[in-house]
Symmetry: C3
Subunit: 658 residues, 3 copies
């Protein structure tokens, strides 16, 4: 199990490094990520490399038995490089050239950038190919998280090439983009531009394609470096740090095949009371991107971050619960940003393993104890999380749905995802987050909280799944458009009409704060629509509002399976009640455990590990479970009383059920 | 009576067109607007025209007896054109060049654009001059609605020429602009720029003139095309679609003389409970722009639009009430955007006559019924709406008042317009909306809800009107500046002091949410001021706030007439009560009819037509009225019980009073 | 004592000037500021000067015995100049070139601008060197208030030169800026840019230095002109109008040594109920910048300003109280913007001494009476305000603290300043506002409401002050970073740990609206932190929240003095109660006078003058005081009953205490 952090020795005098290593060993650190932004130091002028300082750091690490996740420093092109190649600077949709003095000041399509990145990568790989500290390569940093889209003229040229490859002919592009609308028809590739700011909203297919293109350009940047690294050090895994919860312009489904393992950052929204549920959702998403395999929590925080408006620290016990929750959901270890709090720079008020106030602090004591916890979990390494329920997630649908000019600005992708995830979490249901085109036969239930865009293949995938006995639960405004953002012919929702056994005559989005009553006495907001059943049976109807008397929730028997539709934004309690019904319909067993207790099973070759996390900081909760707690060594037979904030990891033989 | 829609056959395979025509006939459609954005299809490369597809559409229409409102496609210059002439792209006040991929990407002052627009217009006119489907020309689309101001260097040059024509000498311009303030004095025309973003607020006269200039440039674009069309097809009327309620940078008073008839779009603010009153106001404004003549509702929606944050559909009956309310106020028919809901493009979630869910829908059934209603009203064609009360409206005053650096940001042009219009609507008073310089002798009362800028000629016009026996009602912050945005010499309000018999010693705008009491126990917000009477009599005084004990509402006998002044933002009820008094003073008879009933008379050569619209969706209301209802055929003698949502159009002989 | 205004005769026909002078004399005006924006009139083409109009104005003034504060017109470069030298136009961080049509359209680093400004200054100085009206020079106008930062290429070059002078070597700059963070290391000066917009937040030391540089560039502009004026007219004082309360990008501590006397503008936040306290704070700040010497209120308003969203006028008596409060706090007179209300331009709705409604107005009568009041105070000229308590103020700390990425966005510089100032004002304590590096031995108490950045020298200054017996009161998040914005090594607050006898283990900023209880039953918001005492004694603890049971307020005996720390945002009452304790600890006597009464003493050579201002518009208040009221002539023996809104200035022999 990995335990470690981002480490920036360059920010400190070498005298500090020895203390760092001593303290790392005290905390149980076994992997540190180094060199992330050191391009300017490694290559102070074109082609001249200085590795002396990095050599010392690498030697020091290997001497202490600490592995290095060695980063290529290409997220921070040096100032001398940007001065020589000012066309590398990225440009906004407004035509503003973004400047220097921060990081990530590069256009991913700039040929000089790619050449120079390849150069420093090759030099680095050749320098450290045999170094004993080298464990893994960490390419660049947070691709696409901060300046995801460049609209410069060379991006435009690269975009045109990408389009030519994707469509073959301008005519095919005109069809796909629907350029006949507003007379945008193209006759030559050269007429096509990135979706720069225009007098009115720019063609949404063009924008979708520009997002797809930009995502591909970052993958190409990654591949440029990864190919070199794989060639030079064939045995060393290569990855980069995803930001599955934050970099919404990256489609990580398309990234997954390019990395040797999936690593991600995960920064808790500490200001939200159910932040641990959101954290769990993004952990499950990371596992989903990893195809269900173990993955790595590459960055999280011991306490406060620094970039939100207000940055609260974590409460006592919260770091431990958070870290172990990631491990519960498949991470084979945990790393922090960062090792030692910086004295300068944008992130100097970000928490670290070693805070400004040093070791006589609660944070440090908690870090050391957590290191021991992680060591105690060694045997769970490589075990798998298994789920009977899946949620479909698609970044491209998110992009398409949140362009303007929709029926309601309250249609928000993550909002519905969170609502459904939250309701399932409350039922202690373990969830896989999957692409809508994924193999689904392992699941009893598939939930589509928000899938506006659903292409023909995915639509067929869902239909086949239900026909074969699966159960699907679909929320409103899903299955509306194809991959070109064209509305499917006929009534909404074209991609799902058949399987849902209904169609929608008209959308009736509600006003800000407007509520409608449902037939069970609950209320709903944001959305109403005129559902006409064509095989489906109403389970709930609207009792007021524009669709009073008409279906709000329906169920359709389709083939050997069933398909539920929810045409309203149910309140949390109502959604939870509905899910109980649907889970029963799908044959999913649920645990009736206390609300604050998180429960996940990792299954290894010989044993299962039940993670129990009591998110209640003041109350104890009892649950029915048996096994030996790897963290405390205590044996529980039949039940366990979880103390406030307690985490237990019960080992039991495979096949035992809770 | 016209009944129709915007029609985009190019978005559909030709097979669909035949169904379109069949359904159009079923709905009673007799005019469709075609070709609006088809430049790229008609002229796929410079000078090569392809009319085959449009020929088919035109033939199909004429074959079905449906007229064509044939649009020049110049709102959407082709991509190839913009690539060849990138200087045609418009530029913002920040220097951002707006790009392609939407529509209206042209600077109205660009000579290449004007030449090319003339070219396609001439080709189109010559192609279809004899075509039997051709009923009217629709030039361009929504001039100035979306990118009204271009700040590029060629706009700058055109602006200088416009200024040279307007002022004759730089000295005259310096005087008019008050450039001595902040040392902006010009010595040569070349020193003058558009009002681009600057370190502090730019000279407001310069900005006013730039708005006037830009408005004139769009008129010049229109005239370039219209002159060609009139020369080639002398018998065919030429117009364009105004947006009287939305394109605030166009001064439609100056446009009116250039079109053969006035057509406008009107999109209901469905989220507002009194949206039908706002709709009525803009309908009256359209009639005002048309000089009281019949006009045409060129675009409205069967249900939801797509560009507001939340886009509710219309409630049952609402489309019918809305459409007929426009006809009541002078529209000789009604057209929709659009015929068939699009499958792609920015407007794909905009409602249409034929929705995505096709004909088995409430919307389609309502559309067909509405077509029959419109046919039943044929005899009212060309009849006139007559009003005894007028409201003064001036876009230029609106522009000037809403520049920054006023006594209060709560001084909003449309806010006061709506408040006064609403109060008069509630009294069932029919209103003409007129320019303040218009002939006024036909009116018993003229209301000035918000006329900050009032030039000398208009000021004299009002004075003469009152002196001759008219009654005027003026709200605060009117008559403050002349056409150069210079404060009139002496105390406020310089343009109205004499006729109002008072002056203002100091403005006392109120804080956010601050309220003051009036002597009748009501409250007011936003505004207070120290009025000193000089002939006027107080009708109401402030009872609290900075002007406690001083006049809030006054009346002045001036010549044979009277002039009222309202120095406070009265609440709706208090304003309604005041209007009752003023209407009596002016000798205007009002109907004491139930609040939700809208009532307007159109007067034809032989008969009058009383439109009664019950905006109450649940309650019936009885009013005293006689005549034959053109919609139902029922004869009413003495009174009529209007059912929920009912519309009646009672024919009675001219001269009968309700 | 000075009484006067900004005067713009150029906005009026010469016929008006004679009336102006007559009315000025009636009001007691003895100084007017002229010529501020007249460059275009004085130099209508390069090198050709026209002084005829200004000659007439100057002659008229001297003929009437009114002095001229003669402005150099360099805040408004002429349009012809900007057309010839477009590179002079300033550029934003986004790359937008700001245009013409307003004022201050110049980059302070532009060589052509500086040359031209020197030229017009020299011509002006030589023209009027002997003119009897000339009393003082007013250089430019509001330097840095509206477009404080220019990011153009020539600013970039000047910035690099400034950096080279400041740091000597790129290596030293790299260290100071911490460029090793995010790999920003520079190898040549030419690689360094202004902090233009970038993909992520730009280096904060770079931004701090850019603010320091820009401030220095404006000082250099001032010096360019001032040196000429001093050479040509050695006896005439030279100054400019500061905006101590508004131009936050100017560090007026660094300006003070360059002006012959300090003058400032002060515009009341009329919308705030305690606006008179804020006004007092900025008056004390102006005196602080003046080193405690008398200063001049160069601009304030008789009533409303025009640039806030809502611009209320002043209430009866308010202008008099405001003006005299400035004089109480050390201004030797008072000037207004402006003499006569403008008819055109951005400021036409700004109040003036002579309003649009002319002399038969309350404003004019109040102005005339105020002129008499000011004359009655002649003998207080040059007297000094003496304070036992000081507040530390540092613009550079303000800049640094309000960059993003802090623990909480609620850390606002002026917010804490106002809170502590308000509490002291309420205790009738007279306050000097000083730089944290100032000589402190005269003070019994020094308050640090918000000093995030505190350099080593200032830190030592405070330590020495307390060690020698001083008392210091420090609010949270002070003393965190050095002048490079680097966190001091070790626990927070590095610059103050020793003197406060504590350290901070972790910050615990609170959520929006979150409150914690303190041990005395009061509540606090925004901030909590884990204080670990190391010599300090808790005076108050947190009773809830993340630091329940831990210290919230502490006191430390250090050397012969004491140091208090406040780790929470106390409510106003609690802060006031705490201050009572601290003032007692510091040996400061406080007056227990009614809340609305402002009390300040100016001490002259022979007498003291107690200013008493009753800010209560409706209630009378009695205070214990004796002396002759210079305003009314009344002699008070023992006590005085202040009528609503009354101001009294009691002369008493030096040494008498209230």
């Amino acid at each position: 199990m990995i335990f470690g952090a981002d480490y920036y020795p360059e920010q400190w005098p070498p005298g500090t490094w020895h203390e760092d290593v001593v303290l790392m060993r005290q905390a149980g650190v076994n992997l540190v990520n180094v060199n992330t932004f050191s391009w300017a130091s490694l290559e102070p002028e074109p082609g001249r490399f200085e590795f002396a300082e990095l050599d010392k750091v690498m030697d020091l690490l290997s001497g202490a038995g600490i592995g290095a996740s060695l980063a290529t420093p290409t997220a921070a092109p040096p100032a001398w490089f940007l001065r020589r190649h000012p066309r590398v600077l990225p440009v906004t949709s407004d035509g503003v050239t973004l400047g220097t003095g921060a990081r990530e000041s590069f256009c991913p399509s700039a040929p000089e950038y790619r050449r120079a990145a390849a150069g420093i990568t090759r030099a680095l790989a050749e320098r450290y190919r045999e170094h004993p500290a080298l464990r893994t390569w960490h390419v660049n940093n947070e691709y696409g998280a901060h300046a995801p889209l460049c609209y410069c003229d060379r991006s435009a040229a690269a975009f045109r090439s990408w389009l030519a490859r994707a469509y073959g002919s301008v005519t095919a592009l005109n069809d796909a983009w629907g350029t006949v609308f507003w007379g945008q028809t193209y006759t030559q590739w050269e007429e096509i531009n990135p979706p720069r700011r225009a007098p009115m909203p720019v063609n949404t297919t063009q924008r979708l394609d520009f997002l797809r293109f930009s995502n591909d350009e970052y993958i190409a940047c990654f591949r440029t470096e990864a190919d070199i690294l794989r060639a030079v050090t064939p045995g060393i895994p290569v990855s980069t740090n995803f930001m599955v919860g934050e970099a919404r312009c990256e489609d990580y489904w398309t990234w997954a095949g390019h990395v040797d393992y999936v690593g991600t950052s995960s920064y808790l929204q500490t200001a939200e009371s159910d932040s641990h549920v959101l954290l769990a959702m993004y952990a499950d998403l990371a596992r989903g991107v990893a195809g269900g395999h173990p993955w790595l929590l590459m960055e999280h925080a011991t306490g406060a971050v620094n970039w939100r408006p207000r940055n609260p620290a974590k409460m006592p016990g919260q770091m431990r619960r958070n870290t172990l929750a990631h491990i519960a959901r498949g991470s084979d270890g945990a790393m922090f940003f960062q090792w030692r709090a910086s004295r300068f720079g944008t992130e100097k008020f970000h928490s670290a393993m070693l805070p400004q106030a040093h070791t006589d602090t609660a944070v440090w004591r908690d870090v050391v104890a957590l290191g021991a916890d992680v060591r105690a979990l060694s045997e769970i390494r490589s075990s798998r999380v298994l789920a009977e329920v899946a949620i479909a997630w698609d970044w491209q649908s998110w992009w398409a749905m949140e362009f303007e000019d929709k029926p309601s600005c309250d249609l928000r992708y993550v909002e519905r995802m969170r609502a459904y995830y939250r309701a399932l979490w409350g039922r202690k249901v373990t969830i896989d987050i999957v692409h809508p085109g994924a193999a689904l036969d392992a699941y009893r239930l598939l939930v589509l909280p928000s899938l506006y865009l659903l292409d023909e293949a995915c639509s067929a995938n869902l239909r086949d799944y239900v026909a074969a006995g699966g159960c699907v639960l679909v929320s409103y405004f899903s299955g509306i458009v194809d991959r070109n953002d064209h509305v499917y012919p006929g009534p909404y929702p074209g991609a799902l009409r058949e399987v849902l056994g209904l169609y929608t005559e008209e959308f009736h989005p509600l006003g800000l704060g407007e509520q409608v009553l449902l037939s069970d006495g609950t209320t709903a907001g944001v959305w109403s629509e005129r559902v006409v059943t064509a095989g489906a049976e109403p389970e709930l109807t609207f009792a007021s509002g524009p669709d009073a008397g008409e279906p709000a929730v329906t169920r359709h028997t389709f083939g050997a399976g069933s398909a539920w539709y929810v045409a309203a934004r149910l309140e949390a309690d109502a959604l939870s009640a509905l899910l109980a019904k649907v889970l029963t319909d799908a044959g999913v067993r649920v645990a009736d455990w206390p609300e604050p207790v998180e429960a996940v099973v990792r299954r290894g070759e010989h044993a299962e590990y039940l993670f129990l996390i009591n998110h209640d900081r003041t109350g104890a909760h009892r649950v029915t479970a048996s096994g030996t707690d790897l963290l405390s060594g205590t044996v529980h037979d039949g039940s366990i009383e979880l103390q406030p904030s307690q985490v237990a990891v019960l080992r039991r033989r495979r096949g035992d059920r809770r």
